[in-house]
Amino acid sequence: MVNFYIPETLQQALEIRGKEKAIVFAGGTDLMVRARVWFGVPSNFDKPVVYIGKLKELKGVSMQDGVIHIKAATSLTDLLDDPLVPQPLKDAISSMAAPAIRNMGTIGGNICNASPAGDTLPVLYTMDAVLTLRSVSSTREVPIDEFILGPGKTAIRDDEILTEISFKVPQFDVYTFRKVGTRKANALSKLSFMGMLAFDGDRVADFRAAFGAVAPTVVRSRDAELKIIGKTRDEVVSVIPELLGDYSKLIRPIDDQRSTAFYRKNVSLRLLEHFLNTHLK
């Protein structure tokens, strides 16, 4: 039987995390499924647990100089209700699970699970989100694409807790978030796509694209994006085939119970093509 710690402050939580190397438990909507044994039997955690789901210091959203700061244990429902949260992130969150799960599940949990199918991730990648990781003795900031290393693998140290997600909300004129799943509710993504475009007259001022669930981590390529930034609409349309070729090399999905590599790759590329054609032609 492992210890289940309920700290009253973040400081206490960090001390427990550092000393016990405890599992960080926020919403628990994934952890409880993994720890499930059978009815009437306690859930089975292999390490001590530190519960941060009710820590007020880890909840809330604020905006400062155009940079949004989201505390890591803010629930998905609270993010949907918050006027400061940009719409693309809300679109991704509203595609996740169902209300009861969103009431418990947190954005920090979605990140630290590092599932390739985590639905907030493509949006956070396109926003260049930065994560604040704290331990008793240190605070560091890590860009999300350096934090997530592979399925279930992150750069978090065993004495750290993710405390905050922050990013400068980019200016964009059009965006799309698309999640492809078996059904609308409670489905894990077969794949997801986030695209955004900003224009300066006839020219593309900014373009960002990210794909979820089609590689070990979210696929985003700044090199590919730079190929169309600064170009006129007509010029961009002529490089779309080349761009699709570039992304085709980066999108390396697998066959699993949810979908096939063939389907994932094709649909991903078509979503990108459709997004660009819709807004550039």
Binding site: M32, R36, V41, P42, V49, A98, P99, A100, I101
Partner: protein
């Protein structure tokens, strides 16, 4: 570990292991068997209860997380005027067949109507999207919510 919380309006304490699921504690320690287990992984909504005003799946909540919280189950909700209106609407619409999923749906609908007393069809579908019913095909449940919202005008 001693867990103290408010259950259906009453202050209660229970001595249990912290990683027990709220679902099991409600059923085994308090005999509240209106809280059902089907999938055990948050997919079906049969175990839904309202925790601090929000719908949660009790199979995903370790009981330690409930310390200091307020829980409403179908057994407590049954005593309310809102429940009466909702049950009559369920009967009128034919929204109960085998009945296993009904407590979870009722809690999900209560959570919806608290936030939004006049939901449209899309909002109703969204609110019950985490609940699975294998009998009715959902249309009758959606009808029941519409009837309840109308007949229960002013209650929510």
């Amino acid at each position: 570990m001693k867990i103290t919380f408010k259950l259906n309006g009453e202050q209660v304490s229970v001595e249990t292991l912290p990683t027990m699921r709220l679902l099991d504690v409600l059923r085994e320690e308090f005999g509240l068997i209106g809280v059902k287990e089907a999938c055990g992984e948050g997919e079906c909504g049969a175990c839904a209860v309202i925790m601090d005003g929000r719908l949660v799946h009790s199979c995903l909540v370790p009981v330690a997380a409930v310390n200091g919280s307020e829980i409403l189950t179908i057994e407590g909700y049954r005593e309310t005027e809102r429940h009466k209106v909702l049950m009559e609407a369920f009967a009128e619409a034919g929204a109960v067949q085998c009945g296993f999923c009904t407590p979870g749906f009722v809690m999900a609908i209560e959570a919806l109507l608290r936030r939004n007393p006049h939901p449209n069809e899309d909002e109703i579908k969204e609110a019950i999207s985490g609940n699975i019913c294998r009998c009715t095909g959902y249309d009758m449940i959606i009808d029941a919510v519409k009837i309840a919202a109308k007949k229960g005008e002013g209650l929510w």
